[in-house]
Symmetry: C2
Subunit: 435 residues, 2 copies
């Protein structure tokens, strides 16, 4: 069902909703007042409880029913594993249920299915058990901005335009939006010293990323061809790859970032499906003259023609003082997923080309998605040039890096003439002082 053929919903708050109109229908896992986590779909200001709807007999046909059954148990892994067909069947059934004039409107309410208010008592959880988390580095503007700090004449390493660079991240500390961020402690090397000291991080940063949910995946020893990669992408979220820059600078040679990233990674809890994002696909931006063509295992015509996304990404900062003064949040970043040098399909094909097993519920991060201009940088490292150029806030405060009490809010939004806008919901996290 194309987005243009979908009109309005009888759920009044869905029509014109900034994030969750009828055209989005993201899945998530929630609980109410300490109850067991269960799956739901966001529509307007409400969550539609999928388990209750199944029990109420609203999913009687084959594929949609199978899909909903796979969302049982407070984790979407089995649903991700079913792949595209089940996801589409569920989407079509949900639209049938919720579109304006649906003959099922009465049935939903009569049979005890639940539309719960999103904000009130619902707590959001991670949507899936994350087996492995991989963080990529496909934001070329970020790679260039960071590279310039170390190598002004030659910011990109020689492999960048051939290899979708990535590394394994820590799965155990991925948390849903709203989880506080405890300032980490660790070893750092003070400027001009040769011996490290130990203490709380003093250069705490955010990184604006797109998150990608994987499913169904491949067996060890097999690979996913780039032409098939779309079948293994279950959905998308926003991801904040919180980073301790001072710990990172001292620890990362020769094996990469470790404790500087593993204290927490925040994600927005709603899984926005590939189907909902379909109208916002774009051609992968042409490679600048002189850039190499992707190697054959990373090249697919369809992927080049429609494998990128036009998703506007925003980062806001709210300090304690700003909250006290009722000041609006300060926009740190306005960027877009079009700054990805590699598509999500290229990331999947690359990750599995050596036979590495991908599994339903694996999570990818895109890497920081900065734009080339001031105002588009996806981390404070870039915005303040490593702390050299503090930013001034309306509260009269300045920031080089994040202070205790600071809250970072990520938002993502897709707009296109003739289509309903959809959003990702927020990914928030507030910094707490070190223990």
């Amino acid at each position: 069902m194309t987005q243009t053929s979908i009109t309005r919903s009888w759920v009044a708050s869905a029509n014109g909703h900034a994030d969750f109109p009828l055209q989005n229908l993201p899945l998530g896992v929630f609980s109410v007042k300490g109850g067991a986590p269960r799956s739901g779909v966001a529509i307007g200001d409400h969550i539609f409880d999928l388990g209750a709807a199944l029990d109420a007999g609203l999913f009687d046909d084959g594929a949609a029913r199978t899909a909903v059954e796979a969302t049982r148990g407070g984790q979407l892994n089995a649903f991700f594993e079913l792949g595209r067909e089940a996801r589409v069947a569920l989407r079509e059934r949900l639209i049938e249920l919720f579109k304006e004039g649906s003959t099922l409107h009465g049935k939903i309410e009569a049979q005890g299915a639940k539309l719960l208010p999103l904000a009130a008592d619902c707590q959001m959880h991670l949507p899936a058990k994350i087996n492995d988390y991989t963080d990529f580095y496909v934001g070329i503007e970020h790679a260039q901005n960071v590279g310039k700090l170390f190598r002004p004449d030659n910011p990109l390493l020689p492999n960048y335009k051939y290899v979708p660079i990535g590394y394994h991240g820590r799965a155990s500390t991925i948390r849903p939006s709203g989880t506080d961020v405890r300032r980490p402690k660790g070893q750092t090397l003070p400027a001009g010293q040769t011996e490290p000291t130990f203490g709380p991080c003093t250069r705490l940063d955010y990184e604006l990323e797109l998150g990608i949910w994987i499913g169904p995946g491949n067996a060890m020893g097999d690979s996913i061809a780039i032409g098939d990669a779309a079948d293994h992408i279950a959905g998308f979220c926003l991801l904040n790859d919180w980073s301790a820059r001072d710990i990172q600078a001292w620890e990362y040679q020769p094996l990469g970032p470790f404790l500087s990233k593993s204290f927490i990674t925040s994600i927005s809890p709603w899984v926005v499906t590939a189907e909902a994002l379909e109208p916002f696909r774009r051609a992968q931006p042409a490679r600048p003259e002189g850039d190499p063509q992707p190697l054959p295992y990373l090249f697919d015509k369809r992927d080049q023609a429609a494998g990128a996304f036009d998703i506007e990404l925003e980062v806001l900062l709210l300090t304690e003082s700003m909250r006290e003064q009722n000041l609006p949040a300060h926009r740190l970043t306005l960027s877009n997923t079009q700054h990805m040098y590699w598509t999500v399909a290229q990331m999947v094909a690359h990750h599995s080309v050596n036979g590495c097993q991908l599994q339903a519920g694996d999570l990818f991060g895109s890497g920081t998605l900065s734009g080339p201009e001031s105002g588009q940088f996806g981390s404070l490292l870039e915005i303040t040039e490593g702390g050299k150029k503090p930013i001034e806030l309306a509260s009269g405060e300045v920031r080089k890096f994040l202070e205790d009490g600071d809250e970072i809010i990520l938002r993502g939004r897709c707009s296109r003439e003739g289509f309903a806008s959809i959003g990702f919901g927020e990914c928030r996290g507030k910094v707490l002082p070190a223990r």
Copy 2:
């Protein structure tokens, strides 16, 4: 129960067994002829089926019974989570059951408990669901040998003697001993070229490591103090960190190894407990003059006095031609865990100091454990100096790196005057041609 107070077993094959005498009693997960995986203990040439023994009423007292119940379901995670007390109670009960003259000998056989032959129909599985896998780099001789290939004058990076360097590894492709190793494909940069090619790895290597099983772990935001770290170490295994050197060289800047390691990691399937290894603890070797003292969060007197292990580690190579000619395996490496610059407790304390959550069933690799001398190098990269000095085999073959059909066998063994020797069992893997 100290090892010296344990004598002989009525299980005849256990007495003098190279790996599994009564003094070892490692836990593992096995299945018979495609049946469901279940937990067992290795004793001599047999596996003692823990579930069957529980059903037969052999674990009626509190702590040992709780321990065995936690091994149900084909994964030892819940058992790891119980910690040291439950592990010790189970060990004591097992010794009571299996020691020579045990009054329970008859009871075991009468009540239907099972001692299965290890070799015959038993297939070994991963002992636990591995949530996160971290590979360290604490083998200082390896770090120096590899560093010399790139920086002859200054092989160790400045952080090495302060930071127990580690990085996140891929959990989804960890497999038990006996799983074949499919040669990976990937991008490599041919010598003298500026553009990469794609194809099967031509510099396939092994890495000899100690594996460490974690349990119970810590909540996100908490840390494990070095003095408490021993309570979070459930057991040990052997680990082969298979490495594609050509892929690694091209991909690893700036975020570390990725596809060069994630195609497979092999481990020995038996979990050798901290209690079994107790007699083989040693003082951490004194740091050479001029080396810095560990920072306070990494320093503990008891750990310095007895936190190291004396485990002899061996690597054998068996080629297809050697198998055909019935030649004995060629020893590539004879090394020891005493070449670890950091103790396992230091690894645990460091990993969690930033608040990173460790969980029961997490696996650590030590990093390659080479010695300083020829014959002690834990990888072909070091032995052949990156392929420059091929080794000659009794079969008339030479090797720079691994060829298809080559099998690598890791062994680990602890010996000490006045104590029974114990071993880890094997960690084997045979190279298959690329797909």
